[in-house]
Point group: C2
Chain length 254, copies 2
């Protein structure tokens, strides 16, 4: 892994003419009329999330869309290029919204609630992409081509840190909490939750969508409770959690 010098050459010639196609990925209606390129990205996203980037083969992706592996290279120059198109949009959007929430002119507690709600929402809605970002994080760290991924993660950390610091200064949060440990713990907690919410119920549910044992709403409440109990000043534990305000702040993503 140390000397993983698999060169991704996104040289000149074939570089993607319609990078915006990646956006259609979540907006695309499930009815038939979507172009090949988008369909390939859907298949790749699914495989990368399921098996990891490294362990997914181009043949699997090609099989999923019903063409041969060689034909993929008419649409994408390299396997790495597919990954770029899949993660870039999500990374940029997450970074932008997190920074905006962290800088909003409301109390630190409301910003924290908004951050939790937004990240849970985003990671659940766009779960496959975030699964890729988490599960293949070693690949991203070790590949200079994807430095922007780890860079965005770092910026997110500083946004959270600012909110925590503001909350401590405003005597809303415990002064003795360790920012680093707290953010790390919360961040992975939300990631974990989204992964479980979207995938693990395979073991339980059977029929439609409605018999899901946990609603996303309940999962959000659980985590808000868990997190706020841990960081609020003990004297404030009885206060209601400002979920509505956080919800409103979190939904301003456009």
């Amino acid at each position: 892994m140390a000397e993983d010098t698999k060169q991704a050459r996104l040289s000149g010639a074939k570089t993607a003419p319609k990078a915006a196609a990646a956006q259609q990925l979540k907006a695309a209606p499930k009815t038939g009329k979507i172009d090949r390129r988008t369909r390939i990205l859907q298949a790749a996203t699914h495989r990368f999330a399921e098996c990891g980037f490294d362990f997914t083969t181009v043949r699997q992706i090609a099989d999923d869309v019903g063409i041969l592996s060689g034909s993929l290279y008419h649409h994408f120059a390299t396997k790495d290029e597919m990954l770029h198109e899949i993660v870039r949009g999500a990374v940029q959007q997450l970074r932008g919204t997190v920074k905006r929430i962290a800088a909003a002119p409301v109390s630190a507690e409301r910003r924290l609630v908004a951050l939790v709600l937004f990240e849970l929402d985003e990671m659940t809605r766009n779960q496959q992409v975030h699964a890729i970002l988490t599960n293949s994080r070693r690949f991203f760290r070790g590949n200079p081509e994807f430095a922007y991924v780890v860079e965005a993660k770092k910026e997110n950390f500083y946004a959270w840190k600012r909110v925590l610091k503001d909350g401590i200064d405003a005597r809303l949060f415990k002064p003795e909490i360790d920012p680093f440990l707290t953010i790390l713990t919360i961040s992975r907690m939300l990631n974990t939750a989204a992964d479980w919410y979207r995938n693990e119920d395979v073991y339980v549910s059977g029929s439609g969508e409605s018999d899901k044992p946990y609603t996303l709403d309940k999962v959000k409440d659980f985590h808000l409770d868990f997190i706020l109990n841990a960081i609020r000043l003990p004297s404030r534990t009885a206060e209601p959690i400002p979920r509505q305000d956080g919800e409103a702040l979190a939904s301003i993503t456009a």
Copy 2:
């Protein structure tokens, strides 16, 4: 991944004569005199933890110990057999101790504290093996040869569930907590913490062992606080956390 029918044949002929060698893995002094088989398992453990089982090649392992890949097959029948020897002991020990703590005749809170302390301790001490168990969990789930791994995980879950239920019945914990979500969250939290504690400080530390910014003790306190704040009855938040008692209970592993 669905049709991953890579057969592991641990047929008859070459089956490992000294399976106990895996135990030496953590007990082995770092001085030179350890046999080849143990050295190979050390290298394999490191690689599996770092790159995942699937993505590790037998040639990498062979390189690490300074022999050729073909020579590995004098010591082990298959790559899968190495994995078995690496994880089996840890899985059995974890399962045994967790069940014993969960059944101990003390208050549910002390048992919970003991579970948290023990798992953090064990996952930190034996971090590489637990990283393998977590990172390659899809492999374990999809491979019948390793059913005992997921079986043990399930038993651990029921042990935790019992402690949580006892705590609710004894009016120590909030009656409204969701056992499944709570256990899932705590479990991954501890896993995450151990992973970070052992690996992530690569980015920070420089010289010896002493300048580590976080002691394991501090990490334990952080998590006990975080977890107990979330599940204790609100009226009990001011009570001291019975860490010493938990420590004592957790350390009875022999």
